[in-house]
Amino acid sequence: MADERAASLRAERLDLFYGDFQALKQVSVRIAANRLTSLIGPSGCGKSTLLRVFNRMNDVVPGCRIRGSVEVAGESIYAAGVDPSALRRRVGMVFQRPNPFPFSVFENVVYGPRIHGSARGDELSAICTACLKAVGLWEELREKLEESALELSLEQMQRLCIARALALQPQVLLMDEPCSALDPVATLRVETLMRELSRSYTVLVVTHNMQQAARISDDTGFMLLGELIEFGPTKSLFTHPRDSRTEDYVTGRYG
């Protein structure tokens, strides 16, 4: 079934616990490949936790355990023998605060391929150029590759972090509030980049900004108290949601 192949990320009856606290409850979702999907919901609803399930970032949280199945491109990622760092190569992540390493622009972009030993010498230069082009930084930074990444503007830093994730040629990009540290103009530019990236990558974004979810995503999921209340095409979710809890949240009645 074509639909089956198109599901890039998949969770089935997923429960996640931090110690005694259940952060995700029976979440079942299929995130389509090469689309941009947003997760919205109030703080503490589990959206970041769900995002981090897909590259096993929650593994590092003590007392975290899961029940249910999670697949990336049809492969179960919590099965025995799965190497989390190999998984994270395929499922890249971008965080809320831009977090470049205290190295040069060049070393930031090629950091992944260099430590994984997947490229060297001229190959690294080619990767750096391609990734900076992909995030729209090449023209600005081609003469500044050896300068420290910490000297960049916040928007440039965030683009650089996206370029760094792309350098490992991932299939999936997870983005946790990627624009919350940016000003409105930088936000719109990064949103445009996210739309472009969603043509080649599966992009899953957590955002507090409902207008951002409405603007950029193909599909949107609304979460509340650890449950995925509603998931579907963004245009339906913001014009006639099926669930009254979604309705209350998107119309600003949630209290």
């Binding site: 913001f238 014009t239 006639h240 309705e247 119309t251 600003g252 009645r253 949630y254």
Partner: protein, 231 residues
Amino acid sequence: MNHLPPERPKHLYSKLDTDLRALKDGVVKMGSAVDAQVARALDAFVKRDSTAAAAVVTGDKQVNTLERELDEHCVLVLALLQPAASDLRFVAAVLKIVTDLERIGDFAVSIAKAVAGLDPLRLRAEQDLVPLGEAAVRILRNSLDAFVRRDVAEAQEACTADQPVTAALVALGKELRNEMSQRPEALDNALATLLVTKYLERIAEHATNIAEMALYTERGEDIRHIVERPA
């Protein structure tokens, strides 16, 4: 009214509640103004009262002003408060409803203007004109009521309520054409009355559009042009 949907919780940002309520009140106000215009125009028509007819023409200014104000307010709410889901559908519906109301107001003016060409001669068919006009206005009233009270059942009923009215108006048209062929002296009045039946048909259609918008607002479904209607 236990079939009505439950009250929704208030918005966290109360200005949205205030503005949506103001839009609702504005629609009610414009609706009553239009409703009164149609009634006055028909009354002027059957009484051959050119003074009352002139008042209808002047009264249209108020309707047009209300349309502009409501349009502007909707655009502001969309731009500044970014309503979503049922709130968004409500504002979109108000934008469309005011256009229907404004058109109904224009038909009231057309009826009033037809008074000028009438002579004192009475036609039998005129007796039916007022009740049919009242029936058309009733659809308008029910549609607006359904919109304001979020009453799906009433909206559904109003959606097709124009059909018997239209059928009666068409029958009246036939009668008028007969009268024209039998009494040449009645030709001018019969032609004017025939026009008024057409205006009333259009008024009833615009009124059902409003009922369709009431349904859309409540259920998120656009039912326009789905059911084939008799031509």
